[in-house]
């Protein structure tokens, strides 16, 4: 059964001047299934959209091909289709502007027509995707009892969302004293207002023991003493903070009888804070030493604490203060000023490349270091040494991360350096990470996190329902062999076993939790998982269309989060690359299947490029590393088949790296040219 296809070409107000549109219209009209071809100069503007709607209605168009970059206009044209009474997903786009006209010199009419042909081949196969409202719980669980957690609960309460504050300690705000002395916050007022808030339930001495479910519907088991509590939450926010540990070099050790001075002569920042607050201190320290930035270079917090405490001590006791450091890093708001103020007050800063030697003698602490500027050894005897501190993830971070199945970074803080997750989201929809549990954030950054998470959660849960696309990615229960592969590989934890129609257990993909990456579809050994819009048929239709008109071309599978926008940007900057490159847009490099690549070779491709996000910054966490593995495997298969000399290449790039995109294309082109000789 053939559908009526409407093709809408646009010359973008005449900007596209190296395509002969009259010739293109004539050619496209002849393609099978095409009912009408329209040429517009402003398809995305109101006038163009109105014309599109009336054309769809008058000609009874069932599927639409439009030309422009999907990055900009796919959502606009989907709306147009919906207004015209079609399902928005029966649309395929041919990017004849950025990836054709602007990317090449000279007349590119042929390529434009071929790109339209690719889109026509694909649009035939597309299937409608319906939308549905799914109910979600409006309750939020905030784990943690510090400033970040309390502020979040208060702000969520203000926007009308009920919150449970889950703290493992017996009281809230155990670290609040530090904030009071640094920033002058009245934390006790905050604690009493959160305890009195009717939208906030405070559970202290309690911890989470089990979590199942997904965004909008998490079932959480909480243990509070002997009591077990079951609750449902729409979202979970982790604000579990940090802990500190003294970072004294193990050698040389203080002699045994002098170890007692820990806590008296060698103190932590927190202990020093309480010394400062103690008005009945017997003897005020005359000489004080501080140390930071010798251990792991993550010294934002230790520096901030040192500057604050050194200034306070100078003001209160007028002590002599020596600060030993490797580097002063003043990347927080107001920190540079604080540093200047400390210097002006007479705090002495001593830069040393090696960790100072600390020894204790007759109740005093001696610090020996090599001053970088003087080039001389320096020795200071202090009454008190505020030792360097390591900032570590809060206690229990490891347990929570395995409970929720969330990854941690190399320092075991939540959320690694993935730009797609910044600032507060995790790889699991509905689980958020805020404040110091993500690393040593200063107050400004913490406040941004809080606002950010409140907006996110409010947007998700405030209506009590979320609109989802139904079965966009689905495992066919007839074909699923219950091998569990998809469940093991899904980076978003969106797949679990379900019993479809009371028959055997099969993979069930949650429409709510699925982030539409297609990693599962590419790995499913039974080819049971179908990702609408990127099914095998739809990818192969494009590969076939390319093969019909070209030979010895390059097929580039471009991730829509990185390489595709990079290619668009290359066009916008008029960076040129060879015309025989054909781009197939995919939701993630991890969606590219080995057999799609082999098919491209079968249809005459000289080679294939797989382009995904930068290492460690994959929108779908593991997609780019899986793609790299698959490319390696694919090259092994090609070598076995004696198709060698032109291996598949994988490049990692970010969406703002058009030059890298062009470099990748040029490099591979050179390889192909050399192979051809």
């Amino acid at each position: 059964m053939e559908s009526k296809i409407g093709v809408f070409l646009c010359n973008c107000g005449g900007v596209i001047n190296n395509i002969d549109f009259d010739a293109a219209v004539k050619k496209v009209t002849k393609f099978p299934g095409v009912t009408c071809v329209n040429l517009s100069s402003n398809l995305c503007l109101e006038e163009g959209r109105e014309k599109m709607i009336s054309c769809i209605r008058e000609e009874n168009i069932e599927r639409v091909v439009a030309t422009c970059s999907p990055e900009f206009n796919e959502h606009i044209f989907r709306e147009v289709l919906e207004k015209a009474g079609l399902n928005g997903h029966l649309l395929s786009m041919a990017n004849i502007r950025e990836q054709c006209s602007w990317a090449h010199d000279g007349n590119v009419t042929m390529k434009a027509v071929e790109l339209v042909k690719m889109a026509i081949n694909r649009v035939w196969l597309l299937q409608p995707i319906e939308k549905k409202e799914l109910p979600v719980s409006r309750e939020v669980l905030v784990v943690g009892g510090g400033f970040t957690a309390i502020s979040t609960a208060l702000q969520l309460s203000r926007v009308g969302l009920r919150t449970t504050l889950l703290e493992k300690e017996a009281v809230l705000g155990t670290r609040a004293e530090e904030l009071e002395s640094f920033y002058g916050f009245d934390t006790s007022a905050m604690i009493s207002s959160v305890e009195g808030d009717e939208n906030v339930e405070v559970l202290t001495s309690a911890e989470m023991t089990e979590v199942v479910g997904k965004i909008g519907d998490f079932s959480v088991r909480i243990r509070k003493g002997e009591e077990e509590i079951f609750r449902k939450y729409g979202a979970i926010i982790l604000a579990t903070g940090y802990q500190t540990e003294l970072a004294l070099a193990p050698e040389p050790r203080l002699r045994a009888e002098e170890e007692a001075i820990y806590g008296i002569n060698i103190v932590s920042q927190e202990q020093f804070c309480s010394m400062l607050r103690n008005s009945s201190l017997e003897t005020q320290p005359k000489t004080i030493g501080f140390m930071f930035d010798f251990s792991d270079g993550n010294s934002r917090f230790p520096t901030l604490a040192t500057l604050n405490n050194a200034l306070a001590a100078k003001k209160k006791w007028g002590s002599e203060i020596y600060v030993f450091y490797k580097s002063v890093k003043v990347d927080s708001e107001g920190m540079e000023k604080l540093y200047q103020e400390a210097r002006n007050c007479g705090v002495v800063f001593i830069k040393s490349d090696i960790t100072p030697r600390i020894t204790g003698e007759s109740g005093r602490v001696t610090i020996e270091a090599k001053d970088v500027f003087l080039g001389e050894d320096i020795m200071v005897a202090c009454d008190v040494l505020v030792a360097e501190e390591l900032y570590l993830p809060g206690e229990g971070t490891e347990k929570l991360s395995s409970l929720l199945n969330i990854r941690v970074d190399s320092r075991s803080f939540y959320q690694d350096e993935n730009v797609h997750l910044y600032p507060v989201t995790s790889e699991k929809k509905g689980i958020f990470l805020i404040g110091e549990c993500r690393g040593d954030l200063d107050l400004g950054r913490v406040l941004t996190d809080i606002s950010s998470v409140v907006m996110n959660v409010h947007g998700l849960l405030s209506l009590g329902q979320i609109q989802v696309e139904v079965e966009r990615v689905k495992a066919d229960p007839q074909k699923c062999v219950t091998c569990l592969t998809c469940i093991r590989v899904c980076p978003h934890g969106a797949i679990q076993l379900i019993r479809a129609d009371n028959s055997k257990e099969v993979a069930g993909i949650s429409d709510l939790a699925c982030d539409a990456c297609g990693i599962c579809a590419a790995i499913c050994p039974a080819r049971a998982i179908k990702f609408q819009g990127y099914r095998d048929e739809e990818i192969l239709a494009q590969i076939e269309a390319i093969g019909e008109s070209l030979n010895g071309h390059i097929v580039a599978f471009c991730c829509e989060h990185s390489a595709y926008p990079a290619a668009d940007l290359a066009g916008r900057l008029r960076l040129h690359y060879p015309e025989n490159l054909r781009i197939i847009r995919v939701p993630c490099a991890g969606q590219v299947d080995v057999f799609h690549i082999l098919k491209a070779f079968e249809h005459g491709a000289a080679t294939v490029l797989v382009l995904g996000c930068e290492d460690g910054a994959c929108h779908h966490i593991t997609g780019n590393t899986r793609a790299k593995e698959r490319v390696r495997y694919c090259n092994m298969l090609l070598k076995e088949a004696k198709v060698d000399g032109r291996p598949v290449a994988m490049y990692n790039l970010s969406p703002n790296a058009p030059h890298k995109f062009v470099r990748a294309v040029n490099e591979i082109t050179k390889i192909i040219e050399e192979y051809g000789r």
Partner: protein
């Protein structure tokens, strides 16, 4: 579950060399689960053969089919029309599936494209380990549910041998755990260490009748 490994392309190409049209037949059970012979691998292998033959300038046509269990005659019959169209069948099923196909389509050569390797389980995504040697005389009751016949490199019934390495690793492969250390620890947890003192006489593998047959007691 039965675990298998793909044969090298060179060997498969050799097998296919006299033919111009073949059926690549997958199996939807064990070999699908271990990523070697399901619908996906059928597509990959079909594509790879075509590329290989095309590189040799000797094109080949492939048909593809995957049945739920190639070791069931009734299920194999479902693809008889496709078999009729081709000169030979390349099966991605275990040895049992290949033989069922061969028996059902006696006039067509049926070739194995995989080596059936062992009975095992997935240790993690994409990694399968051997668990059972199908010896026909199960011993697991005495060894805390750990089979020394396949998990001990020497298949010792009375272990461990003298070569256990530090940390309970095997002397033959330091990457692998010593099965007898695992057995000891498991029995220790269950308070059944007395079993370690028992002596077990050698199994009489020669007594296993080939070919094996199992008759269900109930009809």
């Amino acid at each position: 579950m039965i675990i298998a490994e793909r044969k090298p392309m060179e060997e498969i190409k050799q097998l296919m060399s006299p033919y111009k049209k073949v059926l690549v037949a997958g199996c939807g059970t064990c070999v699908t689960v271990c990523w070697v012979g399901g619908e996906k691998e059928v597509a990959v292998l079909a594509s790879q053969i075509k590329l290989a033959r095309s590189a040799d300038g000797n094109e080949i046509t492939t048909l593809e089919a995957t049945v739920e269990r190639q070791c069931e005659k009734e299920m194999v019959t479902e693809i008889k029309d496709k078999v009729a169209e081709v000169e030979a069948v390349l099966s991605l099923a275990c040895g049992s599936g290949v033989q069922t196909m061969a028996e059902m389509f006696e006039d067509k050569p049926v070739f194995p494209a995989v080596n059936t390797t062992f009975i095992g389980m997935p240790e993690k995504e994409g990694l399968w380990v051997e668990m059972c040697g199908a010896c026909g005389d199960c011993f697991l009751d005495r060894t805390g549910g750990i089979c020394p016949i396949v998990r001990c490199a020497k298949g010792l019934l009375n272990g461990p041998c003298g070569g256990t390495r530090r940390g309970g690793k095997c002397e033959i492969d330091p990457e692998k755990d010593c099965a007898w250390v695992l057995i000891y620890r498991r029995l220790e947890k269950q308070g059944r260490l007395d079993l370690m003192r028992e002596y077990y006489s050698p199994k009489n593998f020669r007594a296993v009748k080939r070919p094996g047959k199992v008759q269900a007691v109930k009809a």
